[in-house]
Subunit: 329 residues, 2 copies
Amino acid sequence: MKTHHIIAAALVSTLALTSIHAADPLPSWNDGKAKQSITAFVEKVTKEGSADFVPPAERIATFDNDGCLWAEQPMYFQFFFALDRIKILAPRHPEWKDKEPFASLLKGDMKSALAGGEASLVQIVMATHAGLTTEEFEKAVTDWLATAKHPKTGRPFTEMVYQPMVELLSYLRANGFKNFIVSGGGIEFMRPWTEKVYGIPPEQVIGSSGGLKYELRDGKPALVKLPEIAHNDDKEGKPVGIQRHIGRRPIAAFGNSDGDLQMLQWTAAGAGPRFCLYVHHDDAAREWAYDRESHIGKLDKGLDEAAAKNWTVVSMKGDWKNIYPPEKK
Amino acid sequence: MKTHHIIAAALVSTLALTSIHAADPLPSWNDGKAKQSITAFVEKVTKEGSADFVPPAERIATFDNDGCLWAEQPMYFQFFFALDRIKILAPRHPEWKDKEPFASLLKGDMKSALAGGEASLVQIVMATHAGLTTEEFEKAVTDWLATAKHPKTGRPFTEMVYQPMVELLSYLRANGFKNFIVSGGGIEFMRPWTEKVYGIPPEQVIGSSGGLKYELRDGKPALVKLPEIAHNDDKEGKPVGIQRHIGRRPIAAFGNSDGDLQMLQWTAAGAGPRFCLYVHHDDAAREWAYDRESHIGKLDKGLDEAAAKNWTVVSMKGDWKNIYPPEKK
C-alpha cells in the first residue's frame, strides 16, 4: 500500500508539473498581449487539421542576435572582442602606433578611433579577424569568452542573453520549429557558443561573413579568413542570407532594429499564418532604453511598420519578468 | 485465444522484418568491401561508450550531387533545363539569332555552341536563370521536371537517381546523421526537389549560387536572381561552402570526381573517425563508364588519392545490384 501511495503521489506531482509547464511555457514573460500573441500563433500553426496548420518542416523561425537574443550596449559585443584582439596583436604591429584607427584605440581614445564611422569599424574587424584559419579563430573566440566581462554588469557576455528569449527558443523548438539566427554579426563569431547558450547548432547560424580561402598549410588543408566582406547580413542582406542558407521563407521572425525590418517584411509577405515580433528596449533600469535616435540598434521605421501591420512589440519593461538568466556561481 | 494468436503472429512478422532490416540496411548493395566499409564506419561512430563514438550533432555527411546521387551524362541535367529555357525565352530575345552561343543552340548545333568552353556555359546559365524571382525560378524548375525526360533512358530526371545512394542516405539518417548536398550545381535548381527525392530539406542543400537582390515588386518584397556568380561550389569552393553553411567539418564525404577532392581532403583531415568514398562510373552497360579522360565528372587525381589513402571506391558495376529506382507507372 505504501508503495502505491508513493507512486500515486509521484504521478500527481508529475501531472501537476506537466500542467504547470503546459500552462506556462514562458515563465519569464508577464501575462499580456505580447505573450498571448506568441502562444496563440504557436497553437494555431501546430493544430493538426486546422486551416492554419503548418507542417513541421516549414516551421522556420529566424532571430536577430544583437539586441534580440543578447544585449548590444554600450556597443556590439563582437567589437569588444576586436578591441581585446588589437591589444594582443599590437606588439606584432608596431606600425599601428601611427596608424588610425589603431593609434587612438591603443591610447584608449575610442571617440577618435571611431570618428571614421563604419569604415573604421570594418578596418578594425578585418585587422583582428583575417589571416587566421577558421579553427584558430574559433579558439580565439572561445578563449576570449571564457574570461571577458561586460563593462557594466561584470558578467560574462554569454550571460548577457535574454532569459525570456531563451525560453521562447525552447518553446518553439518543443513545438517542432527550427530556429535560425540571422544576424549582422560575424557568423564565425557566433557559432562557437550558440549551441551551448541558445540550443542553436552552427548550421542554423546565418551572419555576416568574410571571404575564405582553402589552402594547404604544412600539407594540411586549412580555411583561412580573408580581409574582405563576402556577405553583409544586415537590412536587405537578411532576406538574401535567409534564402541562401535556408531556401525557405520563415513563418516567424524576431528582431529589435531597423536592420531587421526587411527580414520581418520578407517573413510577413509569405502566404499563410505569419508572426513578426520586435523587442523594444525601453527598460533603462534593468537594461537600456533606446529606439528612434540610437546609433546602435536604431528602431524607427520598424516601430511605425509594426504599428501599421499589427506586429507584436515587446516592452522589455512591461512584458519581461527577468532580463538575464540567474548568475552562475 | 484467436486474438492472442494474431498478436503473436504480428509480433513475429514485425521481428522478422526488423531483423531483415537490421541485417541489410542497404539492399541494393552487393556484399563486398565497399558495403562493409560503410556499415563498419556507421557502427563504429554510433556505438556509445566506444572511443570512436561521435555525438549525433557532429554526424555531418556531405554528398556531391551530379554523378554521385544522380547521373550526369551525357551532360549535367541543369544544362538540359537551361537549353529548354532558351527555347522558351527565344521569342523574347530576337537578338539571339545572331549571338553566340545562343544562335548555335537554337539551330541545335551543340558543338559550336559549347566551343567557347566554360564561358559559354556561364553565359547560357545566366541568360536562362537571372532576372527571375526565386519563386518564379522554383516554379520554372518544378514545371520542367514534371515533363522533361532524359534523352537516353526516357525517364524523368528525378528518376535518374542512384537507388543504392538513396538507401545510403536513409541508412545514415536512421543512424542520426545529418545529410547535406554539396554540389557544383545551382543551389536553387536542386532545392525544389531534394526533399521529396532524397529526404534532404532545402536548408541542407549547398551549391553554386548567383547574386540575389532584395527589392519591392508591386509593393511586395521579392528576391531577384542576378546575372553574377556569388559562389562557385566546386573544388576549393566545396570546403568553403561547407564552412559557410554548416560551420562544422563533416565526418563523412561522398563524391565521384576531382571536383570533390578538396571536400574529401577537408573531411579526411579532421580528428577522429572519418569516411571518404568515391563512386566510380565503370558500368557502360547499365549507366556510363568514364573517369580519367572524361570532360564531365573527371576522376583522375581523386582515384590516385583514394588508393593512397585507402578511401572507399565503389564500382557501380560490381558493388551495385541496381542503378536506378524501379520505374513509376
